[in-house]
Symmetry: C2
Amino acid sequence: MTSSQLFEQIKLKRSFLCIGLDTDINKIPEFLLTKDDPIFEFNKGIIDATAEYAVAYKPNLAFYERYGAAGWNSLQKTVKYIRTKYPDIFTIADAKRGDIANTSAMYAKTFFSVLDFHAATISPYMGHDSTMPFLAYEGKWAIVLALTSNNSFSDFQMLDCGNSGKKLFEEVIEKSMHWGSDANMMYVVGATRHEHIKKVREIVPDHFLLVPGVGEQGGNLADVVRNGMNSKCGLLVNSARGIIYADNSMRFAGAAKTAALKLQTEMEALLKEASII
Amino acid sequence: MTSSQLFEQIKLKRSFLCIGLDTDINKIPEFLLTKDDPIFEFNKGIIDATAEYAVAYKPNLAFYERYGAAGWNSLQKTVKYIRTKYPDIFTIADAKRGDIANTSAMYAKTFFSVLDFHAATISPYMGHDSTMPFLAYEGKWAIVLALTSNNSFSDFQMLDCGNSGKKLFEEVIEKSMHWGSDANMMYVVGATRHEHIKKVREIVPDHFLLVPGVGEQGGNLADVVRNGMNSKCGLLVNSARGIIYADNSMRFAGAAKTAALKLQTEMEALLKEASII
């Protein structure tokens, strides 16, 4: 998927919502547990209920690996379901992989050929070897961790580097932006870091930013938009728990729909305010 | 497994060899391809041929995920085979995971409960949240990436941090060493970085170091030992391609055995030289 196709979807759906499919069998409605593949059944319910409001889905791999081979089957079925039924929706493997070059090439093959995701998240610690294999696929994206939404983001990402007064996350963006372009790279910037989103936007004015941490982790949507939106939106804002676990009864899908609609409505207002739609 | 149990194995086998089970279906002997699970059959052959010389096995997850659910089955069977037949051998999930706390907890459960590995490799970029869940398991280990063996290690790991003159990899070790202890944490330091292994050894005199990159990646065993060995060995030196792909005919296992024996013989001499055995 190209960035202009993604932008078209954003304008069409009046939304830049990414839904995190972090599906935990201990949190899904009990009645699903008798199904052959409860995780896939849950995902299908969530996807069908929210597809009109979401421009992207992002399963976190940890939640699938947790169930070994069965979990991988659920993941594979989930991606295939989205890619087949909703081919215009962007799909992200939230894998945070990063390895030496030939090993990263294996990961890229897994996510882009075997599973047919549009994008995968990458941990930058091992340098460009980890990212380059993901950039070799036409229409696919590497989404590099810059500033994460978790509590210990500051352990290393906020270290001062060199004599430049730059933080490590700035070095990561400034170096890695030359490995690809705004046509095949995005950056993860946590919503809870809104004071730094502006800084990131200055460094990469045209890249899409994937922003987790709105809602449950305390990030505020209007702050994210004020600091990070560009003329082509340039944002995918992720929400997981607040949508997928809005209710754990028979009505889980309807509750997810309501929660997604609520966020989409806020996003629509913000897109209008920015004269994007 | 405790560090003294690991040290006992090192003395018993006169070896600190870790074998990387980076099993690529395109590189294994053709006659195995007719088997139900060629990857597992190959691993079994390698393991049985080399178990007397190796103190650890380290499958890299990328090589298994590449085959989706089937690959996870091969991995699960491989770990179970080692844990059952060779319970004294240390097993490492080379996964390089790193995520927010609740997600890292999922990964820890996967590698330590579902798959019963002794250790998993962790990427430090997201800080202590990524590592802590792995330290909650008795007898299990987190192996944090410090200085990797790949070409682009210097993109970020070698950045000067703060005003201290320290490199990022030093900051990673100095900060993370307080999250656990030498009883549940190790560090990855590439064999190709032998000029820095000494530095790492100064910071963490008692921790085990997992050292990839000997052989195929150009690292030299004697250099690694000179700079990194401590009084309890403190090293696990990994070799993958040089052992597991020593031959790709019917005689692959015998050739792997010969290659492992060659490294073990060198290691025995070095352990004697250091008066450890």
